[in-house]
């Protein structure tokens, strides 16, 4: 396992290297540079323009700029953003990352769960009305034109019905007096989720170790109890109302993302279920006369989950990568919007920084899935 991880990390570094190189030369190959935008203002004298170029390092030969960028990237210093001069790129990204992560992790989790649940159901009842309805509506939503669809969701739920806010991740009237920044709250939320997941995981692990004692509903009750503690803990921090405000703003984007993306997981689960259902042990379980639900959930679904987990990594990458549109429509300034903004203004360091971050994120997702795989399928051992 350790060897495997080391190799995987090595691969990640190589991938990053390629991504950075590719982006750098792409950005360089296109006409014009950032200083051009200043050169379009006739009131700025030529010397001043040269100075801007110099302060951005654009006056150096290409290979030198490349080396500088490489060095910066791998020392964790992405240089200074042109558009936010003189703010370091890392700072800009660090500010936006938590928002993207919180939103898209939750959305992926929800859509994954919905997709898995539905997939399980339609595989079990093949040819039913549910299958047609779910497949067609799933595929339609999956290919719905995202910006228009997202806007429609806002129009219905935020405007016509007025249930939810129109975009953004917080309400200025609630936050204007707040002592903490939104990013603090986002980090707390991430920390809470992490702690909670570890807690739930350990509970289940313990339940498994305990054997009989841990069987049945007990572990889930423990987890539910843990979940109940969370709001109480937040109530003591004094920023609970801020977190709630953020959560309120998350409902609509998460719902939209779920509707758009559950079909992928659903159809994959269906296929995977269909394959497992032909396995001898499922036949055997049925023959034994076990209740349908038990056979479905315990025997078939559990094993069908494996390939679906692999797809989780893709849905995560898909979500993060496709975040541009959702973020733009929901006014959620995360990494996707940052990338679009940077690309449009040719803010080279920020483009590189965001691509590297998005790339890093998808690489991490890969590794995590590999590890999960080992846990879920005891037959697999990485060398």
């Amino acid at each position: 396992m350790t060897n495997y991880l080391i190799r995987r990390v090595g691969q990640m570094v190589l991938t990053l290297f390629l991504i950075v190189t590719l982006t750098f030369f792409l950005v360089q190959a296109q006409p014009g540079d950032y200083a051009t935008f200043y050169s379009l203002n006739p009131d700025i004298p030529a010397e001043a323009r040269e100075q801007i170029k110099a302060s951005f390092g654009l006056d150096k030969p290409l290979w030198q700029q490349y080396l500088v960028h490489m060095k910066n990237t791998f020392t964790g210093n992405f240089g200074i953003s042109f558009g936010h001069y003189p703010r370091p790129v890392l700072e800009v990204l660090a500010e936006r990352l938590p928002r993207t992560v919180v939103l898209f992790l939750s959305a992926t989790a929800v859509s994954f769960y919905v997709g898995f649940f539905l997939g399980k159901a339609i595989a079990w009842r093949r040819g039913g009305v549910l299958e047609y309805a779910a497949t067609i509506s799933g595929a339609t939503l999956f290919t719905a034109f995202t910006p228009a669809f997202a806007l429609m969701m806002i129009w219905i739920f935020a405007f016509k019905l007025g249930w939810l806010p129109v975009g953004k991740f917080l309400d200025p009237l609630i936050w204007r007096g707040a002592e903490v920044s939104a990013n603090h709250v986002f980090s707390y939320m991430l920390a809470t989720a992490a702690v909670f997941i570890v807690f739930a995981f350990l509970t289940l692990l313990a339940a498994r170790k305990l054997g009989r004692l841990g069987a049945g509903r007990t572990p889930f009750l423990v987890i539910a109890a843990g979940a109940a503690v969370v709001p109480m803990a937040w109530a003591f921090t004094g920023v609970g109302y801020l977190a709630l405000d953020i959560l309120r703003h998350m409902i609509l984007p998460i719902a939209t993302l779920t509707l758009i993306s559950f079909a992928g997981t659903m159809l994959l689960t269906r296929n995977s279920m269909l394959e497992t259902m032909r396995e001898d042990y499922v036949m055997a379980a049925r023959a034994k006369g076990l209740p349908e639900k038990v056979v479905r959930d315990r025997h078939a679904a559990r094993n069908a989950l494996l390939p679906v987990i692999t797809s989780l990594v893709y849905s995560l990458i898909f979500a993060i990568d496709g975040s541009v549109i959702i973020e733009a429509v929901f006014s959620w300034p995360g990494t996707g919007m940052t990338l679009l903004e940077a690309v449009r203004s040719e803010d080279l360091p920020l483009v590189m920084g965001s691509i590297v971050f998005i790339g890093l994120f998808s690489l991490l997702a890969h590794v995590i899935v590999d590890v999960l795989y080992v846990y879920l399928d005891p037959r697999i051992r990485y060398q």
Binding site: Q11, M12, L14, T15, L18, I19, L22, T23, L26, V27, A29, Q30, R126, G127, Y132, T135, I136, A139, T140, F142, T143, A144, F145, T146, P147, A148, L151, W155, L267, N271, L274, E275, R278, I317, I320, D321, G322, V324, I325, G336, L339, L340, V343, R344, E346, V351, S354, I355, I358, G359, S362, L363, H366
Partner: protein
């Protein structure tokens, strides 16, 4: 290594594949027979596949939808050449002189109304259908062409070649595709063809290659491959005559998914105003958006719904055909054993 090369230059897909091929003139009689046998076999497989495919009602319906769009694509040049005068109905420079209020609502002359610049929506819709097909199919052919070759080569040679190609595929999977396309299209003037090429190359060396390789691995161990090698077939011959044809059904499946991806990518990039094309479904929605009509709901439905629905319909049709093909290709998904 390759001591004898029976045909040089190699004939692509000689006597093989689902699609058949014109045999080379100097082929020996025996080869021709062999090719015919193969063709017949392929035809039988095709018919078998079709009968399974037909079982999926969703798949059939989707195929019909694709056919409908193809019909639309073909009808545009015909309509332009016959009943539609260029001044009025050109999808880009046309102007509907019969009304001075644009966007005009649907009328007899303009069944889907006009856009904010006075251009006929139906004409734009039909015209774009053609572009979308060209885009989708080019991307799909490039993807599958590359992926099949890469998969077959990697599976056949194994070792260093295999791990190099597969590591490359891993790398490409890890690339944030949409973000990369955004960067590319913002920096260069991507037209439809380049977009198709880029999507095709990324897909071809990426995920699809991995899937096709695992399929190719299972073919590689089949006895007839061994036999072909023993009979003196060159590597090239074995790969292109024996492995790739057997990969084609699965390739076809992934072509469908690539088409969906490509059309969708075009629409999104056009919507963001990043592509260098004059007309497409994405551009139609972009025009509506720039004009501020995206939120107008039912008032200006013809600006958004025809284009939006076309994207969704065509994308999901290809997707669902892919799904239905999956059942043909993968017997374990079938309801009855085939």
């Amino acid at each position: 290594m390759n001591t004898h090369q029976p045909h040089q230059p190699p004939v692509a897909g000689e006597g093989s594949s689902l699609f058949g091929d014109a045999p080379e003139i100097n082929l020996s009689r025996g080869r021709l027979d062999l090719a015919l046998v193969r063709l017949r076999l392929a035809w039988r497989t095709l018919r078998g596949g079709w009968s399974i495919f037909v079982e999926s009602r969703i798949g059939l319906l989707s195929l019909a939808i694709i056919g409908l769009f193809a019909l639309m694509a073909f009808s545009h040049p015909i309509l332009m050449a016959t009943v539609w005068e260029r001044d009025v109905y050109d999808p880009v420079t046309g102007y509907a002189f019969d009304s001075f209020e644009h966007p005009a609502s649907p009328s007899w002359r303009h069944p889907l109304g006009t856009d904010s610049l006075g251009r006929d929506i139906l004409s734009q819709l039909l015209f774009s259908a053609k572009s979308e097909f060209i885009l989708g199919i080019t991307a799909a052919l490039v993807t599958v062409g590359i992926a099949t070759t890469v998969g077959a080569v990697a599976a056949y040679y194994g070792g260093l070649v295999d791990s190099l190609l597969m590591r490359l595929a891993d790398l490409i999977i890890a690339l944030p595709g949409i973000s990369l396309l955004i960067v590319l299209s913002a920096l260069f003037n991507l037209n439809l063809f380049y977009l198709a090429l880029i999507i095709g190359v990324l897909g071809g060396f990426g995920g699809t290659a991995i899937i096709l390789k695992s399929q190719a691995l299972s073919i590689r161990v089949k006895p007839y491959i061994e036999a072909a090698r023993a009979a003196g077939g060159s590597h090239f011959h074995v790969i292109f005559v024996h492995i790739i044809p057997n990969l084609l059904p699965l390739s076809l499946l992934y072509m469908m998914f690539t088409v969906t991806g490509a059309i969708f990518a075009e629409a999104v990039l056009s919507f963001l105003g990043l592509l260098d094309i004059r007309m497409s479904w994405g551009i139609m929605i972009h025009t509506a958006n720039v004009g501020g009509y995206l939120l107008s709901g039912a008032n200006y439905w013809w600006l958004v719904i025809p284009a939006g629905a076309s994207i969704t319909l065509l994308c999901s049709a290809f997707y669902l055909v892919g799904r239905a093909l999956d059942e043909v290709v993968n017997p374990r998904l079938r309801r009855h054993d085939g």
